[in-house]
Amino acid sequence: MDKKRMSGSVLVIGGGIAGMAASLDLADMGYKTYIIEKTPSIGGTMSQLDKTFPTLDCAMCTMAPRMVDISRHPNIEIIPYAEVEEVDGDIGNFNVKIRKMMSRVNDNCIGCGSCSEVCPVEVPNEYDERSGLRKAIYSPFPQAVPKRYVIDTEHCIRCYKCVEASEGKNCIDFSIKDEIVELEVGAVIAVPGFDLWDPSLRPELGYGEYPNVLTGIEFERLINASGFTGGEIYRSDNEKTPKKIAFIQCVGSRDVKAGQPYCSRVCCMYAVKQCVLVKDHHPEIDCAVFYMDLRAFGKGQEEFYNRAKDEYGIRFIRGNPGEIYQAGTDLVVRFEDTTASEPKEEKFDMVILANAIKPKNEMLADMLGVELDEDGFVQEQENNPILTSRKGVYVAGVAQAPRDITDTVATASGAAALAAADLASVRGTQAKEKEFPPEFDVSGQEPRIGVFICHCGTNIASTVNVEEVRDYIKTLPDVVFCDDVMYACAEDSCTRIPEVIKEYKLNRFIVASCTPRTHEPLFRETCQGAGMNPYLFEFANIRENCSWVHHNYPKEATEKAKEIIRASVARARLLEPQQPGKIRVTQRAMVVGGGVSGMEAAYRIARLGFGVVLVEKEKELGGLLRRMHHMFPDMDPKEILDEKISKIEGEGKIEVHLETKVEGLSGFVGNFGVNLSDGAETKVGAIVIAAGCDEWKPDIYGYGQKDVYTQLELQELIANDGLKDGETVVMIQCVGSREKESREYCSRVCCSEAIKNALDVKKNYPNSDIYILYRDIRTFAKGAEEMYRDAGLNRIHFIRYDIDVKRPNVDKNNVVHIYDTLLQEDKEIKADRVILSSATVPGEGFEELSKMFVLPLGQDGFFLEAHLKLRPLDFTSDGFFLCGTAQSPKDYMDNMAQAVGVSARVGRLLAKKEMETEAAISVVNEELCIGCGRCTKVCPYGAANLVQRGFGVFKANVNSALCKGCGACAAECPTGAMEARHFNDEELYAVIDSILQEV
């Protein structure tokens, strides 16, 4: 490849959450990134969602800051309302032709919306799944990025009222035609998202015939506060709130006849979530979920499902309804309750169908020539879900298989990593740095404070009377400007902040909305855009700390919101500008754990051009993979292992330490000092925790008796021909998993693992009689549902049990006693071999690592990521990352996605030679310091030291590169000489006084 001609830019096709995540990673790593989006705004399906499972985070609240980040990133260019026409060329040099559709609105648009107001045309709104209405000139949703209106030329009647309304802005131009733009890029990431199967193809379910039979996504828009009913749930025919809602799962999924033999992977959890949301709004509405197997396999999902059952009283009925018909205003669902073996009918007034996810990969196949599998998803290569058959073209999200947001984001980072690795030699050649205007000086000025109070749609405004709060805050001294906004984090609001700062000559700014933990960086940067020092920004949290937790106290919550903001005003008056220091970044990473995830992560980081120290506590690399002999659907672990080890050896940038543990850690992000047990001392800029999981050693179901094994032990037996033909093999699922008292989580891999092993036994010993005792079969992964079907065809018996009815039991003679909930009868099976699908448990080193690196573990004992949906590969502590089973149990493919993905997260950090240090640190006023040294005793980082200032005169001194700004020294200082900047005594006293002030 000719290095000179390689392009340092990447094309991302699709602006959904996958495209957004990939672009941000690439742009931060120093690549120019183009996002092509077919609709007028980025955001994709996630922007349509209300809350996300299982944490019930508001989807828009978590993604809106990212949308704003993208819109301001100097290395990202969004090309909305456009489609790719042609892709030529090869890895390193693709030529792309893009058709920008005629929007008839030009760059003069400021998103004021006056055109839309006067437009007389109303058409069904795609954003509301065609339930609500939009105009012919429109912006799809309030937080749209870019906030530029477009004219839907198909429906526009050319009345030119919009042109009149836009008076003089010259923003609407009917002479604009489609435009072809040509780009040169080095790599392509295709994230087309997905389609949904048309449920009217199962006419017996009445979709399209009865108005109150909706699809899952239609219902999502109905319950969303930003939806066409404002979140009010009512029936479209009589505008009454339904009393009973049925949720029907697997509509078109797991259905060979319908054309989707696979599991759509997200429907069970979104149905559970929607039930919980319904119950939150209307506890009196009865919700029933009709399912075949409830697949709550991801992190936190089983726990969420249990809460839905136990706390919210949602009914789960095992049965697949065969027919829905309307009787009067009721919808009658006919089904067989398979745990009672009887056909039943039940009346509902609304039915929600979880229709299947379908691939949307035509463009990938036709234009990029990427190979698809028989279901139309991208055929992955080299057992890596991100690699396609065309070099330089990568996919993420649902392109390769159905995925939830967490897994989508991991693959998106992965795609960014692979594209970046291809173009490592031209990194930075087309990138720009973020630039801010010079800071204005506030010294000696009287405070002039501006305040934005956010409605957050209805998240705040439904509990807190925002207008009343606004009017009160306006009366406070030094508040020069105060306004309420629908979404403070939306692009239009963020554009307004610098404007009002300039207009009102503000020198402090407060946003009263949500939590600083997620949104502070966004608003600080926004203020910087106006030349204001970011530390002159103050955050008031009136959502997490107020509206969301005081639903039942609207009056008190409103008063509380006033006090919260009043205290912020008091603090803002005293805020001072702070300046960060700069430190050099050690452009090298350490990966802890040499299993497959750790090896892949190390290899991928090295491919980005950075050195890696790979630390493994065992004698050889490989981790749990060494104990495996065959992986589902059909992979050879030995082959994979050999290949990975040779890649690591061949890479040249990876230093492997075997039989080694990390013994000491010093320093901070960008500059960690690490001591290893083999005596090595090294410096790294980032640390990845890839410490894998273990298989639980069961203490139940007769484990320890002869012929009772775990699944891993069974693999060993099969490999060594340790079974005999004609034996009865009984497998028990969920051994130690899904147990509220011990491990509430689902171990995610055991169903597929058991079925694969059962098929292997059957293949090698055709006369074996195999039973799998299960609670729900969770074969959600690509190829797994097909394997499950295969097992049925191979006469493997599946018996369902329910621990709430009766637990199975293995007696001393290996006779398995089980109550079959589908036949409603007790059974006894004399087993020659009992195989326990034992839980996946946190590795034994987790606690030690957690202590050493001060990284949190979740209640399940696995490492706790920064954000389950959008930051699954980061820790909240800067410089630390995680991947693979350290985060939660996963299969090989999902581990690969995370391991490749984490390299992009590390790459973002290491790509910069210099980084800024914490600005809010401690400083010493030497006049007050008596040199007692108490600060040096409480400082955990050795940042506070005594220095000699004269004969016998010692003064405290703070090393600004080491100080993290915890403030322990300031609390300890007996004279007030130590000041914790940005959290100093005066500021905190002012806050206390303001809260307690009598009004």
Partner: protein
């Protein structure tokens, strides 16, 4: 005395100094999970419970706070290694001297809440409100008792 100045069905106002990394995260979690708790608490976010100077608590009581809650990461989990241990040492000392200043010790609490314990945060607020109300009743009784003592004859 404090209880004397309060109304009959009084709702205490509680100041909570909480650390950014554990308890504030837990409060966020309570928020996103919509776990409901009493609106009596006012949160003051500090980076670490180790930042909490006992003088802040004294200041709060002097300015009329009915209760003060200090909360941070569990021992061993401190984001800054050991700040919560410093907090514990200082708060233990403070707890000893509060009664000497005539402040019912029930009006003060130090509580560890981790980032994953949204529910625990909500419960600790609710129980603190309860606890302060108990202190109110106790102190009220004390006042009644004092009134019933016949004037001392010298």
């Amino acid at each position: 005395m404090w209880a004397e100045e309060r109304e009959e069905n009084f709702e205490p106002k509680i100041i909570a100094f909480i650390c950014n990394w554990c308890t504030y995260a837990a409060a966020d979690l309570a928020g996103v999970s919509r776990i409901q708790y009493l609106p009596n608490v006012r949160i003051i976010r500090v980076m670490c419970s180790g930042r909490v100077d006992p003088s802040f608590i004294v200041r709060a009581f002097l300015e009329g706070a009915d209760g003060v809650l200090v909360s941070g990461c569990w021992p061993g989990d401190c984001h800054y290694v050991s700040g919560n241990e410093e907090a514990k040492r200082r708060m233990d000392f403070l707890e000893k001297i509060l009664p000497m200043a005539g402040i019912n010790p029930k009006r003060f609490k130090l509580q560890w809440v981790s980032a994953s314990e949204g529910k625990a945060w909500a419960e600790s607020v609710d129980s603190m409100v309860e606890q302060v109300k108990e202190a109110y009743i106790e102190d009220k009784k004390k006042i009644e008792g004092l009134k019933n003592i016949p004037a001392a004859t010298a």
